[in-house]
């Protein structure tokens, strides 16, 4: 996202565009990554309810994975999952695999 100059932004840090947090990618904050294990998942949607950031992808009322652009790796989903269908793994592993990118 190209950063704007002081003449082109609302004053006082006000946000005038509802929902624009979606444009602000916070996945880079993550040190642990949630991994979804489809075989163990019972589709209870606890992870979707508990995620503070709306980072659980749900399609047709079914969990499909995570939005890694926004997931900060807090681990609440893994903690709340009753079926151990989500595990937290070190982000560095994946960064190496992906050429240093989250």
């Amino acid at each position: 996202m190209k950063l704007k100059g002081w003449k082109d932004i609302p004053w006082g840090g006000l946000i005038l565009e509802a929902g624009n947090a979606q444009k602000y990618e916070t996945g880079g904050w993550r040190t642990f990554r949630p991994i979804w294990h489809e075989d163990k998942c019972k589709q209870c949607l606890f992870c979707w309810i508990y995620c503070p950031d709306g980072s659980v992808i749900v399609e047709d009322k079914k969990v499909k994975g995570f939005y890694y652009e926004h997931c900060k790796g807090c681990g609440i989903c893994a903690q709340e999952c009753p079926f151990e269908a989500i595990t937290m793994e070190e982000e560095s592993k994946f960064r190496k695999d992906q050429g240093g990118r989250p």
Binding site: W6, P10, G12, G13, L14
Partner: protein, 393 residues
């Protein structure tokens, strides 16, 4: 048509606030501001204003409530002094940075410690970098006039900054004077309506106040505040002129008194400017070319006007009713001296710290200042750069 009536500074501040009729007033009592809010609470009880008065548990809460109310689109006010202002500290910066034009009488009182309830400017001078406009008042009339003008200044679309209307504790706040007061209708028409274009209650145009603002945008938002302050002088002058057309009392950033041909100039803010005027009158009778330059707006600082007004002066004394510990003289002195730095021809400038904790400063002391200035002008040298007027050695 104006009516002249007797008011103390606190009472006339309350009277101005009655005419302003803010949507929200959140305040906590502190000497010497107490009577302002006490009087205003009577107006609330009598139903003479439609203000929601919030009785908060501290000044921190008072300013927080004002910020919330103003962000919701209300015209919000409070009033405070000294330690009360200090307790608001965190939130006064937030009010300014969210660009909420809250208007607040600050009844100047010395900051503790040791504890003291009398006048000096250590409270508001400490807030000089908070992003608030500061208007200083010489007497009860100016308390009224500044308060009525503060709203159209702060609420101007090009400014949108909160405004402190400063007046000296006890000397003005508890001194009774005749004050010309506008009719309610006329005053309210002058003040106009306030419409916050980004109101939290406007659900059709949702807005977020107070999101995290890190290294990517915080600097840009501070730059915007600088710009708002730079736009403010024109607005202060415009409103001062409009007010003058209505009342005959014209206001600018500064006021000068016998300055035209003055060799020796004293710069002062607040009630002491009145004492300096009386001193100038006496000295003029003795043939001394003495003059006064009164600071009305310390924020924004009227640099250009000060340079122009001091272009003929030989020696200038800047009187500060506050100390800036560890600095080279008082805050007004530092900025006046700095403003003159680039000038080829500039007067000698001397700092006088005076009146701390309400120490009385009379004509004889100010005569001494002019005497020092005469000596400096004659010798072309400043013998003592920073002076403490009226302190016992």
């Amino acid at each position: 048509m104006e009516k002249v009536m007797a008011f103390t500074g606190d009472e006339i501040a309350a009277e101005a606030m009655r005419q302003i009729n803010p949507d929200v007033l959140a305040a906590y009592p502190i000497t010497p501001q107490t009577e302002t809010v006490q009087k205003f609470s009577e107006f609330v009880a009598e139903g003479r204003v439609s203000t929601d008065m919030i009785r908060v548990e501290s000044e921190h809460s008072a300013m927080s409530a004002c910020v919330g109310a103003a962000a919701a689109g209300a015209r919000a006010m409070t009033a405070t002094s000294a330690n009360g202002l200090a307790l608001m500290w965190e939130i006064i910066y937030i009010a300014a940075s969210y660009r909420l034009p809250i208007v607040m009488p600050v009844v100047n009182r010395a900051l503790s410690g040791p504890i003291n309830i009398h006048c000096d400017h250590s409270d508001s001078m400490g807030a000089r970098d908070s992003g608030w406009i500061q208007l200083y008042s010489e007497n009860c009339q100016e308390v009224y006039d500044n308060l009525i003008q503060a709203l159209p200044i702060g609420e101007d679309r090009n400014v949108l900054l909160p405004v402190m209307v400063c007046f000296d504790g006890f000397i003005i706040s508890h001194g009774t004077e005749g004050v010309a007061v506008l009719e309610d209708k006329v005053a309210r028409n002058f003040i106009g309506e306030f419409k916050n274009i980004h109101s939290l209650l406007d659900i059709d145009n949702p807005v977020t106040y107070g999101p995290l603002d890190l290294f990517d945008y915080y600097f840009e938002h501070k730059r915007q505040q600088v710009e708002a302050m730079e736009k403010a002088p024109e607005v202060v002058k415009k409103v001062g002129k409009q007010f003058g057309e209505l009342t005959g009392r014209f206001y600018g950033l500064l006021e000068d008194y016998h300055l035209q041909d003055a060799d020796l100039v004293v710069i002062a803010a607040g009630s002491t400017a009145g004492t300096v005027k009386a001193t100038v009158d006496e000295l003029r009778e003795e043939g001394v070319r003495a003059g006064l330059l009164k600071i009305r707006t310390f924020r924004p600082f009227p640099q250009k006007e000060i340079i122009q007004k001091l272009s003929k002066a030989k020696a200038v004394a800047v009187m500060d009713r506050s100390a800036s510990f560890g600095a080279i003289g008082g805050p007004i002195f530092l900025e006046v001296r700095s403003a003159l730095f680039e000038e080829q021809k500039k007067p000698l400038v001397i700092s006088y710290i005076y009146g701390l904790g309400g120490r009385d400063t009379g004509i004889n002391q100010i005569k001494q200042v002019y005497h020092d200035l005469a000596k400096a002008a004659q010798s072309g040298k400043v013998s003592q750069l920073v002076n403490y007027l009226g302190v016992r050695e």
